[in-house]
């Protein structure tokens, strides 16, 4: 079966005011099958959010240059007309953002904002759209939705607002849902609730999900497959269990090592030494070389290719497989 969305050789460049060009994303290949959940992991600025905005067609056109191909259900989103993209957005493609506090328009009731999406793509009467909106609010477990629907966002807590955002994203039963750090701005107990909700909705709707996060705990709970990004590139892609049990890229190993554990006392939190390279002038070789504990001279000479280490598991490291090194 062909994947629902397939990204091939995606490159994104930002043109700054000062004429500098930042390589935000470089030759990213990804695909997600119907009903599957892909985790996109990496630290801030690694290009994961930019990749998702490129899928949605929400990057500012004047300053960004996007090349490659994003095939959604057979046609290329990067070549599609604006009108076609608008017909897809909010309809078959939907997105949940990181900042629930500011992502809802303060001047309209949450009902208006959900109904607007339904009317835009489904048409029909306002009355039936309102009923559907109430139903959606009920599905994301908002108490007494008949009453809440007429409230303005400022009356709702962060967790409630994120539920509203999810309800809005689900308004037209999207085939692909992109969730950009949906739980980052929420406190831990709410995070668990929102994740539980997403799992529930995924089971009910069968939508494919791209979950963007820097939290590996979240990935372990929700995802089927994981892609790890570093400095605009995918450095490792693997089924979720395999990534956790046998990581094949030194950066992934470092990320897994930096999760604090309750069962072990540590004087200091584990960190990955060094800094992310300046993406206005990416290094010639492996982008992680400067921080890599396993670095060889060859690493700094040429960019490493993605290599298959096992079926469905690729790593951008010339020393993969890494078993011997890690132990």
């Amino acid at each position: 079966m062909s994947p629902l969305i397939e990204i091939r050789d995606l490159r994104i460049r930002f043109h700054g005011d000062d004429g500098r060009i930042t390589h935000a994303v470089d030759s990213v290949d990804l695909s997600v099958a119907n009903g599957a959940t892909l985790g996109l992991v990496g630290e801030s600025g690694c290009g994961k959010s930019v990749t998702s905005l490129a899928i949605m067609g929400l990057l500012p056109k004047q300053t960004t240059e996007v090349t490659g191909a994003i095939r959604f259900d057979g046609f290329d989103l990067l070549k599609a007309a604006d009108q076609t993209l608008r017909d897809l957005r909010g309809n078959r493609l939907a997105m949940i953002f990181q900042e629930p506090m500011t992502s809802l328009n303060p001047s309209f009731t949450i009902g208006d904002q959900i109904i607007e999406t339904i009317l835009r793509h489904r048409g029909g009467s306002r009355k039936s759209a309102r009923e559907r909106a109430i139903d959606l609010l009920r599905r994301v477990h908002i108490p007494s939705p008949e009453r809440r629907i007429d409230e303005y966002p400022h009356k709702l807590s962060g967790g409630m607002r994120q539920r509203v955002m999810i309800a809005m994203a689900l308004a037209c039963d999207p085939q692909l849902l992109i969730a950009d750090e949906p739980t980052t701005a929420l406190d831990v107990t709410l995070q668990a609730q929102i994740l539980e909700l997403m799992r529930e909705l995924k089971a009910a709707s069968g939508a494919a999900i791209i979950l963007i996060t820097h939290d590996l705990g979240v990935v372990a709970e929700v995802c089927d497959e994981v892609a790890v990004m570093y400095a605009g590139e995918i450095v490792e892609r693997a089924p979720v269990d395999e990534l956790f049990s046998a990581p094949q890229h030194p950066y992934t190993v470092g990320l897994l090592g930096s999760i604090p554990r309750l069962d072990q006392r540590a004087e200091q939190l584990a960190t990955i030494e060094g800094m992310v390279p300046n993406m206005a002038q990416p290094p010639a070789g492996c982008r992680f070389a400067a921080r890599c504990p396993f670095v060889l001279e060859a690493c700094t000479r040429a960019p490493p290719p993605l290599v298959d280490v096992s079926p469905g598991h690729v790593s951008r490291c010339i020393r993969a497989p890494l078993e011997i090194l890690v132990s």
Binding site: M56, L58, L85, R86, D87, L88, R89, G90, N91, A94, M95, F97, E99, T102, S103, L104, N105, P106, S107, F108, T109, E116, T117, R120, H121, Y152, H154, M165, M168
Partner: protein, 313 residues
């Protein structure tokens, strides 16, 4: 909301009291003796003394104030020292003229300023943006009197389309009335349009960067709906208050503009009254102006609450 209104109305009373005291006291500092003005050519001390007594000018200032404010509270502002007309009647005659002028000016200001600001923000960095900014700078830095004279020169003298001066009441002949007021209204509204344009532009630029505008785009809404509904609704909230505050500028701007276009409005009334040391008229006009200004501010506050759900409570 009701609580707020009650508090706001309660604030108006001391404000107006303070204004009335201020107007009355400042009046005393003006050079010249009103009794002498009224006596005219007749310099008979007995007549002057009689006038002083009649208008209570021989009494202490606080007593004079008490008599005045007592009348004001029942709508009696006294009578003009010059032509003996009741001040209330003068105000009733002239205020509608200035209100019409002001209303037209603010409509012109909003019609020009807000669309120009939105276009400049949406097309930031293009010729549209630079053009709008250029006209805003021009509008702010052009003096009223110069623009007025130039308009008269162009439209009245050269082209002969509009009357150069005078006023026709709306009720009498609305076409002639609009023709007589359109130039002064434009002169008055022009600078406000420029200020509104700049504020609308910066508010729109800020709002267009916001997360909820991105959400609106992610919903698949058209750019038109994103800008005119989601962005504009939020950007215009502060602009409404600003526009109402600018109405105060209109009242002061009207003084000069009415002079240039010889419009018998409030501005002209007060200038004539000051030159004639017609104290009763000056006091009445300034007090009414202050009241109008305070009322406009109150309306602005209410409008701000009505468009901003976070304040509606």
């Amino acid at each position: 909301m009701l609580n707020f209104l009650a508090r706001r109305l309660a604030q108006i009373v001391p404000t107006l009291f303070f204004v009335s005291v201020l107007i009355f006291s400042l009046q005393q500092l003006l050079p010249g003796d009103p009794a002498l003005v009224m006596a005219g050519e007749e310099r008979d001390p007995a007549v002057i003394e009689q006038i002083r007594h009649q208008y209570r000018l021989d009494q202490p200032v606080p007593v004079q104030y008490a008599y005045w404010i007592k009348g004001v509270l029942v709508g009696d502002f006294g009578e003009s020292l010059r032509n003996k007309m009741p001040v209330r009647e003068l105000i009733a005659q002239k205020l509608p003229v200035t209100l019409q002028l002001g209303a037209m000016a603010i409509i012109i200001a909003f019609l020009i300023g807000i669309p120009a600001g939105i276009v400049a923000a949406v097309k930031k960095g293009t010729a549209w943006d630079y053009g709008a900014n250029f006209f805003a700078l021009w509008g702010i830095s052009t003096p009223n009197f110069w623009l007025g004279i130039m308009l008269i020169f162009l439209f009245s003298i050269e082209l002969g389309w509009l009357p150069a001066s005078g006023y026709v009441p709306l009720s009498e002949d609305w076409r002639a009335s609009l023709a007589a007021t359109i130039m002064p209204a434009f002169v008055l509204g022009n600078a406000i349009a420029a200020i509104l344009m700049r504020h609308t532009r910066s508010a729109m630029l800020q709002v267009l960067e916001s997360d909820y505008v991105r959400t609106a785009r992610a919903k698949g809404l058209s750019e038109r709906s994103v800008i005119l509904k989601h962005a504009m609704r939020n950007a215009l909230t502060p602009i409404i208050t600003l526009g109402a505050l600018e109405l105060g500028t209109l009242l002061s701007g009207a003084v000069l503009t009415e002079q240039i276009f010889s419009i018998p409005g409030f501005g002209k009334l007060i200038v004539d009254a000051v030159f004639n040391r017609d104290y009763a008229v000056v006091q009445g006009v300034v007090l009414v102006t202050a009241t109008v200004y305070i009322t406009l501010n109150l309306i602005a506050d209410i409008a701000y609450i009505l468009v901003n759900p976070r304040l509606r409570g």
